[in-house]
């Protein structure tokens, strides 16, 4: 995809599907070896402990087989030797939007980034391939001691906080892809919110893949200290390439006593992206962690945000929406590990399968026998648009002992021809009718979302439905 003049950029209706020519100053080349890891550590001028951490992680990655016991066979189609693991133009994000290189700036302007920052965000980080190109936070937050930087800057400038939690929520060997991320991670956010500080407006990161045959491995670590509150939102896009692109992030959250973290994802990957992400939080006493996860697009997504409820009365929540269009498989769900008394968890998952799309809910809820007063509620609803669509639900709920309660509901429904006809009779086109049905199906969940994101999600659903009818 080499376009020389901006006017020739390949665009279709989906706002994320365009790319600019590549001009990378730093390129680790194709394939993954210990040499690749050294290249990344050298370029980023990282301390030795990180270099060692990366090398060990690579060994773990190489020694671990692909997950096979339930994972889709499509994983075997990832050719790790064909992927480029590190691409960057510069090593330091600018604080001023004006200093962002023109082509990158145009990319994010088309995606609406600076506009959103002006409107409602407390801070923004924009990552282009491997590195953040722009990172900015409202000054008032910095004065309160809030840290919002990229992972590299985090580990260099704030090692005392970073080191304490990094890799502790999700150990390197958790799974093959967390090991891969640990070996080659770059970019992502590091956030620290001091005790009692309530960040009123959301912090947002935007992840953009621009290059073909590329792997994006951002690493995010958020620590909300005692009694603090923060909302983080991430958006992801990539252009449509012929070849597979890999996105494999690791996100670790730590909510200290009484803290609240909300983590919102709206991803709109193109249909060539393998999206294999590990997300987990630890919630200490009376802390609350809420994952809001919207998975649209990608070839295969495997993602099960989890909360380890470590302290008494901790609360975990996963609200997820997955939309699997033709040729896509959304394998998503949630993990709730209860490890203290009176902890509660809530999982609400809605999936929509269109055409030959497939969505799978995979959940794990674990409440051991010695605990008391724990509660879990799990609801999974699936909507099938066509008779060729597929949905599966695998809720693994292990509740031991008699002093805990658990509730599980699942439903599968189909958009009926009568429903579509009724709406068409009122003047809506078939696509508009489908879209309205789908929006209605997810409506009660979307109400929980921040306004700007619910609008965005509705627009994405409209686009998906438009392409799937007729």
């Amino acid at each position: 995809m080499s376009t020389e003049v901006i006017s020739q950029i390949d665009v279709d209706r989906t706002r994320g599907d365009f790319s600019y020519p590549e001009q990378h100053t730093f390129d680790a080349g194709t394939g993954l070896t210990h040499g690749t890891v050294d290249y990344i550590a050298d370029v980023k001028q990282e301390p030795d402990w990180i270099r060692e951490f990366r090398h060990k992680a690579l060994d773990v990655f190489l020694s671990k087989p692909m997950p096979t016991h339930w994972a889709s066979k499509d994983l075997e189609n990832i050719v790790f030797d064909n992927i480029r693991y590190y691409l960057a133009n510069s090593q330091r994000p600018t604080r001023s939007w004006d200093e962002v290189p023109d082509d990158v700036k145009r990319t994010f302007e088309r995606l609406g980034i600076p506009e959103q920052e002006r409107k409602f965000l407390a801070g923004v980080e924009a990552q282009f391939d491997s590195e953040a190109v722009y990172s900015n936070m409202k000054k008032a937050l910095g004065d309160e001691g809030v840290i919002f930087v990229g992972s590299t800057e985090g580990l260099k400038e704030h090692p005392e906080i970073f080191k304490k939690w990094f890799g502790k929520v999700i150990p390197t060997g958790d799974n093959k892809f967390s090991a891969l991320n640990s070996a080659v991670f770059s970019g992502g956010s590091f956030i620290y919110v001091p005790p009692g500080v309530k960040v009123k407006h959301p912090l947002q990161a935007y992840f953009r893949i621009n290059a073909e045959n590329f792997g994006q491995f951002e690493r995010t670590l958020i620590i909300a200290d005692e009694g603090s509150e923060v909302m983080y939102m991430e958006g992801c896009t990539a252009p449509k390439f012929e070849t597979a692109t890999l996105h494999s992030a690791v996100v670790e959250l730590v909510a200290m006593k009484g803290a609240k973290i909300q983590y919102v994802t709206v991803q709109n990957w193109s249909a060539n992206v393998f999206n294999l992400v590990t997300k987990r939080a630890i919630a200490h006493e009376e802390a609350e962690v809420k994952w809001i996860d919207c998975n649209i697009g990608s070839r295969l997504t495997m993602k099960y945000p989890g909360v380890v409820l470590k302290g008494r009365k901790a609360r975990g929540e996963v609200l997820s929406i997955a939309l699997a269009n033709n040729g896509q498989h959304q394998d998503t769900g949630a993990k709730m590990i209860h490890a203290a008394d009176e902890t509660t968890s809530n999982v609400i998952s809605k999936s929509i399968s269109i055409g030959h799309g497939r969505s799978t809910y995979r959940g794990q809820v674990h409440i051991p026998r010695h605990l008391k007063g724990c509660k879990n509620n799990t609801e999974c609803d699936a909507l099938l648009i066509n008779s060729t669509s597929r949905t599966d639900t695998y809720p693994a709920i292990t509740v031991r002992g008699s002093r805990n309660s658990v509730q599980h509901e699942a439903s599968v429904s189909q958009v009926s021809a009568e429903q579509i006809f009724y709406m068409q009779q009122r003047g809506l086109s078939e696509a508009q009718a489908m879209s309205l049905s789908v929006n209605g199906f997810v409506n009660d969940l979307v109400r929980e979302f921040p306004m700007e994101y619910s609008v965005e999600l509705k627009r994405l659903i409209d686009l998906e439905m438009e392409g799937s009818v007729g």
Binding site: S416, A417, E418, Q419, F421, Y422, M423, Q424, Q425, R426, G427, L428, S429, E430, Q432, A433, L436, S437, N439, G440, F441, V442, N443, D444
Partner: protein, 260 residues
């Protein structure tokens, strides 16, 4: 200006013919009633005119002010001015009534035009008041958990908001008690105007006490077999559909004799 149905033959796709050469003309400004026994093709007629995908037209025409609508998608017919008040309105979970009607109105605008929200709610509330619909209705999901009366009132509300040129009311009286029927009929009567033609389909004469038709047609065996003034409805009510069938048999007999 009229809705013209000419020699219409239709069936459930691949099945028996249900409409067998139906002719009808509804002028703008008039109210026509179609009465008929069960299985005569009343509901089929409303579905065929509005383009339900289960039905197949084998021959004939349906002209909306001179434009043949049979090749059009159901939504294009609706935007061209055709409205069907459903006998069994469909539930749409999660979609509020206000958003649904708004989307239907928005679909009638040109690309780039936006419905004015303030005007829209002004109109909506005004029409809701006429139908004695409480304000909480706007945020409820379309027809979900509605009583029979609420569903039918919602159909009339949508008709009032969408302002069709021709409206077909399919057994709007079914499932209504007398109080609900009065409210719904009053709503329909309020919409009578020189710019709307209405086709009221009903099994019973009762509805026609409240929505007085200009012309009454009797549908039997997929054809209009009698057309007359409102008095025909009363005659049917007192003598029953068997009376029509008998006269038809006599007619058929006469035709047979004549053709020998």
């Amino acid at each position: 200006m009229s809705l013209v149905i000419h020699n219409l033959h239709a069936r459930v796709a691949g099945g028996q013919e249900i409409l067998r050469g139906l002719n009808l003309e509804v002028q703008k400004g008039s109210v026509h009633a179609i009465m008929g026994p069960n299985g005569s093709g009343k509901s089929t007629l409303s579905k065929v005119i509005s383009g339900h995908p289960d039905y197949e037209v084998t021959s004939g025409e349906v002209l909306l002010d001179g434009v043949d609508v049979l090749a059009m998608e159901p939504d294009a017919r609706a935007r061209a001015g055709l409205f069907l008040a459903f006998q069994y309105p469909v539930e749409i979970p999660g979609v509020s009534n206000a958003n649904f009607i708004r989307a239907a109105l928005q679909a009638r605008l040109k690309d780039g035009e936006e419905l004015d929200a303030v005007d829209y709610y002004g109109d909506l509330y005004k029409e809701m008041d006429k139908l004695e619909i409480p304000r909480t209705f706007t945020s409820r999901s379309v027809n979900e958990g509605f009583s029979g009366g609420e569903k039918k009132r919602n159909e009339v509300l949508q008709m009032a908001m969408l302002k069709p040129a021709y409206a077909i009311l399919d057994e709007t009286d079914s499932g209504l008690d007398i109080d609900a029927l009065k409210v719904v009929a009053a709503g329909v009567n309020a919409l009578r105007s020189p710019s709307v033609g209405m086709l009221v389909i009903t099994h019973y004469q009762r509805l026609l006490d409240y929505i007085a038709p200009d012309v009454v047609h009797v549908l039997v065996g997929g054809r209009i077999v009698r057309s007359a003034g409102p008095e025909l409805a009363y005659e049917l009510e007192s003598k029953g559909y068997d009376w029509i069938k008998e006269t038809l048999t006599e007619d058929a007999h006469a035709v047979e004799l004549a053709s020998v």
